[in-house]
């Protein structure tokens, strides 16, 4: 039986102030198990990014609990949350957020450097992971010398090099063409095959459905439905 690596219960969260204040999450619960690739789908403004920020311990919810690897995060201060992130969570962003002045290898190594890992070991690990994402030959390239798809693969390498249990991706294919999007998703699906690791991908790209083990639909701050990847596919093709 695979373990629950991330669990959220009854998350409520507000954003903005005064008249602009909105309830972005209105009681969201979900659990991610090792070995899963879960898609989070929903219209723009439905609260996907907010949910991801809270699950990734970048933000503390107004109400509700988050447990990472069984540990409740509510009581943790900013530094303890940072520690949790660097040890257990990997992020992938739509706009990659690579460091423009560092080459691919150093960008990946950064995830280990912030954990205080020795440079030599970190370099070897970074090279190995870059090879896994198919960029072994581009490790000395700067981000601007790489295509969008390649940059996103470097970002994926950075997210997984530290053996994070939870990979959170916010529209990772949003800026990519179909071929590159497919390649990135295939890579994420591959990563999720590791039974110790769960991948949650926010997207509104239906081409990703074949890769999903589960699809969660969110609308207006609430989870409205959930189904297996196969069911979702059928719905899309029937439509």
């Amino acid at each position: 039986m695979t373990e629950i690596v991330l669990e959220a219960t009854d998350l409520v969260h507000h954003l903005g102030q005064g008249a602009g204040r909105v309830q972005a999450l209105k009681g969201v619960s979900l659990a991610l198990k090792g070995g899963e690739l879960v898609l989070l789908m929903g219209p723009s403004g439905s609260g996907k990014t907010t949910l991801l920020s809270i699950l990734g311990c970048l933000m503390t919810p107004d109400a509700g609990t988050v447990k990472v690897g069984g540990q409740a995060v509510a009581a943790l201060d900013a530094e303890a949350l940072a520690k949790l992130r660097r040890e257990r969570i990997g992020f992938i962003f739509q706009s990659y957020h690579l460091f423009p002045t560092l080459n691919a290898e150093d960008n990946v190594r950064l995830a280990l450097d912030v954990r205080g890992e020795r440079a030599r070991a970190a370099k070897l690990a970074a090279r190995e992971v870059l090879a896994t994402v198919g960029l072994g030959h581009k490790r000395k390239s700067l981000p601007r010398e790489l295509s969008g798809g390649e940059q996103q693969r470097v970002a994926i390498a950075r997210a997984i090099v530290g053996k994070a249990q939870v990979i959170l991706a916010d529209e990772p294919t949003g800026a990519l063409d179909t071929a590159n999007g497919q390649a990135v998703m295939a890579l994420l699906a591959d990563i999720a095959k590791d039974p110790a690791r769960a991948v949650l991908v926010v997207t509104h790209d239906p081409r990703i459905l074949p890769f999903a083990s589960r699809v969660i639909h969110i609308e207006d701050g609430r989870i409205v439905s959930e189904e297996s990847g196969g069911e979702s596919m059928k719905k899309v093709s029937n439509a």
Partner: protein, 377 residues
């Protein structure tokens, strides 16, 4: 090479214009501080030149004398009372004062006369490059420094001029005896000095005291004090220190130099703080990413501090080079900018401190960083 250092240096060199602005700011600031502090060091040395070159171990002076140039007088007969004190080997009068020097072509200029006994204990000119010290015993003989040739209308030894309507003849020329007041020194015999300055024959500015071999400075100082009325008795070091405090702090010259240095520091801090802050703002997405992937705050501060330190090192190198040039250019002037190794080290530490202090604004900026920034485009 650590990744933090690499990030810092790339952040810094990435924006060349800003980097150049930072370095120019640091150089400007530190050169200003260097010049002010170098002047301070130079001034400190200059104001005690005469005391440092006098062979006296004790100085007897009128009560309340503030510095070497102080015009107050004491009774020369005190000399015999001083000589009666056990441990005093010699006590000789020194006369100082301003006088009008009349150039051969008729115009006049003020000079500062220093007269002492030519044989025995006296404040004699040093660094004689023309003529001989012994020739000062010739009637009307004086020694001047070659720096002031033009001002005094002299081009070499054996030339004549007038001091207070008395004919004088330059019999010795020195090199490098300059006054920070820019009034030329004229060395001569004590009697002649009195006549040039109008000081009465039984008066003197100081009594220079030399101790007998083996005598204890402090003991003799106390004994002379006890035996003489209406005078102060200071060791050479005490007198130098009193002179320095007067010129540096009594006149406000020192305070002005420090104020200039402080101004330089403030300007430098503002410039470096401003450029570091704007660089941090430009890279805020990267810092947010660092924070999102779980770096400690310290990790991020280290990157910023490295940026500050790197700027400091490059800026200091530039400032030190310019400082050296200024020191060389002013070495022969009345008020040289003097760079001692200690001052150089102190300036380097100051530069580092200034740059790290400047990083505070940038650090406060990243302290408030919101890691969810990474989700916005």
């Amino acid at each position: 090479m650590s990744l933090q250092f690499r990030l810092a240096s790339r952040n810094l060199f990435h924006d060349r214009l800003r980097f150049i602005a930072t370095i120019i700011g640091i150089i400007f600031s530190i050169v200003l501080v260097t010049v002010q502090m170098g002047l301070y060091v130079g001034f400190r040395l200059m104001v005690t030149t005469m005391i440092d070159h006098a062979p006296a171990e004790l100085w007897i002076m009128p009560v309340g004398t503030k510095c070497f140039e102080d015009p107050s007088l004491l009774d020369e007969r005190q000399r015999f009372r001083a000589l009666a004190v056990p441990g005093v080997a010699e006590a000789t009068p020194l006369v100082i004062g301003y006088a009008q020097w009349r150039l051969p072509q008729g115009t006049t200029t003020p000079v500062f006369v220093v007269g002492s006994e030519l044989r025995g204990l006296g404040l004699h000119p040093w660094n004689v490059v023309e003529g001989r010290l012994d020739d000062l015993s010739v009637p009307g003989a004086v020694a001047i420094d070659q720096t002031y040739f033009e001002r005094l209308g002299i081009t070499g030894v054996e030339q004549a001029a007038e001091l207070r309507d008395r004919k004088v003849q330059v019999m010795a020329v020195t090199k490098g005896i300059r006054s920070f007041t820019t009034t030329p020194y004229v060395f001569t015999d004590v009697e002649r000095a009195r006549s040039f300055t109008g000081i009465a024959p039984n008066k003197a500015s100081y009594l220079l005291v030399k101790l007998a071999p083996g005598a204890d400075l402090w003991t003799v100082q106390q004994a002379v004090r006890a035996n003489l009325a209406d005078v102060e008795v200071l060791t050479a070091a005490e007198f130098a220190s009193r002179s320095r405090s007067f010129w540096l702090f009594g006149t406000g010259a020192g305070a002005a130099l420090f104020a200039g240095a402080l101004l330089g520091l403030i300007v430098g801090t503002v410039i470096v703080a401003q450029t570091l802050y704007s660089s941090t703002k430009d890279h805020i997405n990267e810092f947010a990413t660092l924070r999102a992937i779980g770096s400690t705050s310290r990790y991020i501060y280290t990157v910023i501090i490295w940026q500050a330190l790197l700027s400091a090192i490059v800026g200091f190198a530039g400032a030190a080079a310019i400082g050296k040039i200024v020191a060389a250019a002013t070495a022969e002037s009345a008020l040289p900018v003097i760079m001692t190794p200690l001052l150089t080290v102190a300036l380097f530490v100051l530069t580092l401190t200034m740059c790290i202090g400047s990083a505070i604004a940038a650090i406060v900026k990243v302290m408030r960083i919101d890691p969810t920034l990474v989700f916005s485009r």
